[in-house]
Amino acid sequence: MDLSYEVKDSYAEITAAGRLNMVSAPKLREMVADVVAAGTSRIVINLEETAFMDSSGLGALIGCLKAARQAGGDLRIAAVQPQVQMVLGLTSMDKVLTSYPSAAEAFGDD
């Protein structure tokens, strides 16, 4: 998985391309921790190019959500693809992780 981030005006966008599984999940946690430590706690994870996520990846997203909220911000997900949507739905985590059509819309209204 290729992970990168970009700090925008009012939030940071992390792009996750590839498979979010037990190999890449710890790297995502590290990146979010780095972004929060650098002072940005409003984070959107762009999942447009995330073709696959397993329960390890889901656990990482939940951990990252907690980290962002503990720092006074929030973590949102964007451009969710079918397999990721399926995992979110089967685990009912689609009610916990708020999904937006695009990264730009995730923090667009606040």
């Binding site: 498979r19 599984n21 037990m22 696959f52 397993d54 656990g59 397999q83 995992v87 089967l90």
Partner: protein
């Protein structure tokens, strides 16, 4: 016995890198069995990766030799089957084969519940120092 139309097998050290190898075998399997509908591919592949990840994360060696992950996936016209094995692993603690899905902000514990939701049958057997999860999905949907 129903004809096996495509098959992939893998056996290697139960390390995180093995998960990427399982993904590669699944991709190759779908190339060989292009008739399998997208929904079946997506659900079955997710279950297989969950089971393989479970071996890598939780299998405990029975001796001084490290655990090896084995994956044997076969496709027939009406059934997908995966045998996901932990070779050289100790007998696991009693397994709740039908666990509830954790809710709220739990960061782990969803793997087996997810597998149950994704496939038709899940069975476990232990034989000759090997723990094997057998996952099947059938029938294939259009």
């Amino acid at each position: 016995m129903t004809e096996v139309l495509a098959r992939r097998t893998l056996r290697q050290a139960a390390l995180p890198e093995a998960i990427e190898a399982v993904h590669t075998e699944l991709d190759g399997l779908w190339d060989d069995a292009s008739f399998v509908p997208d929904m079946d591919r997506m659900t079955f592949a997710t279950a297989v990766i969950e089971a393989a990840s479970n071996v890598v994360q939780h299998a405990v060696p029975e001796s001084r030799d490290p655990v090896e992950l084995g994956v044997d996936i076969s496709v027939t016209p009406i059934r997908l089957e995966a045998r996901v094995s932990a070779f050289g692993a100790a007998r696991p603690d009693p397994i709740d084969t039908d666990p509830a899905m954790p809710d709220g902000e739990a960061e782990s514990g969803r793997g087996l519940a997810l597998i149950r939701a994704l496939v038709t049958t899940v069975t476990f057997k232990r034989q000759d120092g090997t723990n094997t999860w057998i996952l099947s999905r059938s029938p294939l949907h259009d």
